[in-house]
């Protein structure tokens, strides 16, 4: 459904992505792993046209999406750091995004209940804690019931209870036919959720496939060992 075709990107002298090609299927949870600076966030930003690739393209149902503004109607994106004009309330922000999308946020009320956000929505954003802001961020990215959900380090800053709710919710989304892209440092999350794992190192895609075949391929006992083994050995593809 979503295809990354030969994506390369260089920042100055620093090659961030080197000829990366990945194919993602509908109804799946796709995780992106790698050390800091490995290019996972850049790859996601290229999907959203936040970053322009030097070469390669991305297609969604065989249609090029780079620089396509309307494609973003299909995406719910949760940024790594939530930082909005903070004199306004989450409600203001929600109504702005609703106006921009011009669609009904059908999951809004359900998400507010799930993440206990009803009190926080009418307060200025600057009075909210980091975790609550992150939940608002999550709410906005999920409320339009978009077919593609992109989560950049979603569990950073969330309390354990919310992380648990989020994980359950993500699994539910998959069942409803959504395609989820997620970067994470936390192996436990990756372990529990991944259908398809993509490991990046220094801009190269070193592994793409299911969790189980990764463990088998590296002769490891568990995911943690498998990942460490990739990080030390390098390319498996």
């Amino acid at each position: 459904m979503i295809k990354f075709n030969n994506i390369s990107k260089t920042y100055g002298l620093n090659k961030v992505l080197n000829d990366v090609s990945i194919e993602l299927n509908q109804c799946s949870i796709n995780t992106f792993l790698g050390p800091n600076g490995s290019g996972k966030t850049t790859l996601i930003k290229i999907l959203l046209s936040l970053v322009k690739p030097d070469s390669g393209n991305i297609t969604y149902y065989d249609k090029n999406v780079i620089n396509d503004v309307s494609f973003k109607n299909n995406i719910g994106y949760m940024t790594q750091i939530a930082n909005y004009p903070d004199n306004l309330t989450a409600n203001d922000l929600i109504s702005l995004v609703t106006k921009i999308r011009n669609t009904n946020p059908i999951l809004k009320d359900e998400l507010i209940d799930r993440f206990y956000l009803s009190d926080a929505l009418s307060k200025p954003l600057k009075h909210l804690s980091g975790g609550t802001k992150q939940k608002v961020n999550l709410l906005i990215s999920l409320m339009f019931d978009s077919p593609v959900i992109v989560l950049d380090e979603p569990s950073v800053g969330l309390d354990p209870q919310s992380v648990k709710i989020l994980k359950e919710y993500i699994l539910g989304l998959k069942k409803n036919g959504k395609t989820i892209l997620m970067t994470s440092h936390i192996l436990q999350d990756v372990d529990e959720l991944s259908d398809n794992m993509n490991v990046l190192m220094e801009g190269n895609l070193v592994y793409s496939g299911s969790k189980n075949s990764l463990i088998n391929d590296t002769n490891s006992k568990n995911l943690e060992d498998a990942i460490i083994s990739i990080y030390t050995k390098g390319n498996l593809c």
Binding site: V51, V69, Y77, A82, P85, N87, P124
Partner: protein
């Protein structure tokens, strides 16, 4: 789309309240100047220096800083189905309203009220130059912040550009005119002055404030090239060029930029 974005930013600006303190600062300043000066000519000279020095400084710093501070918000918006152009415009226009609005509210209104029956044209040219200079240095600030991703570097560049255009450049003119004082230097001097937005604003006001001094000079060059109507039109036009050029450059940079 643009209007909803703009409304959102403006609402944030008004809630932030500092714009009212900024306007209040100008208001108190103008009232104090009128209170303590026996003649309004003294008020004008003081305001002239404020407009030539303070407004550019505040605008260029606000331009760079506001852009850096909105980076995450811009990333958030970029993931939504909006044209980059509209994101940039809403950000720029709200900054323009923040910096210029405070000045017009705090300085423009009291000045016009004081001068409505006296030097109203001078008051209007002071306000107009303040608006234009504010816009020019704001768009320079935006260009700088689009050019440098590093906040500290951007701030440094902004301060250097401010210092150069608002202060050092006139020293340069002084040096050149002194060094070549044996040659007919008026035309190069005028061209040099017209290349700097700060000097353009200064000449624009001086044409009104000290016209007879500028025109009373024994050579005819300044009179012919700056004389009344032509001087006003050409300085205004060049200031608008100075406003539009960095604005267009930063819009272009913004459209191609990686976030």
């Amino acid at each position: 789309m643009l209007s909803s974005l703009l409304l959102f930013e403006l609402k944030n600006l008004i809630k932030a309240k500092w714009i009212f303190f900024y306007a209040g600062f100008y208001f108190l300043l103008v009232e104090a100047l009128y209170y303590f000066s026996i003649e309004s000519s003294k008020v004008f000279i003081s305001l002239l220096n404020i407009i030539l020095i303070v407004i550019p400084l505040i605008s260029i710093i606000y331009g760079t800083q506001h852009f850096y501070n909105s980076r995450e918000y811009i990333q958030f918006l970029l993931a939504q189905p909006i044209e980059r152009r509209n994101i940039f415009l809403s950000n720029f226009i709200s900054s323009l309203i923040a910096t210029i609005g405070g000045f017009v509210l705090g300085c423009g209104f009291p000045l016009i009220t004081h001068e409505i029956n006296d030097s109203i044209i001078l008051a209007i040219s002071l306000i107009l130059s303040g608006i234009l200079l504010g816009g020019i240095f704001l768009s320079l600030g935006y260009y700088i912040s689009n050019l440098f991703d590093d906040k500290a570097k951007g701030l440094g560049a902004a301060l250097i550009i401010w210092f150069f255009l608002c202060f050092l450049y006139d020293g340069l003119i002084l040096g050149v005119l002194y060094y070549f004082s044996d040659y007919p230097i008026e035309v190069p001097a005028l061209i040099m002055s017209m290349l700097n937005p700060n000097d353009l604003a200064r000449l624009f006001i001086t044409l009104e404030l000290d016209n007879s001094a500028l025109m009373g000079y024994t050579g005819a060059v300044y009179k012919n090239m700056l004389g009344t109507f032509w001087g006003i039109i050409s300085t205004l036009t060049l200031m608008i060029v100075w406003l539009v050029l960095p604005f267009m450059l930063s819009l272009r940079k913004f459209s191609q930029k990686d976030f």
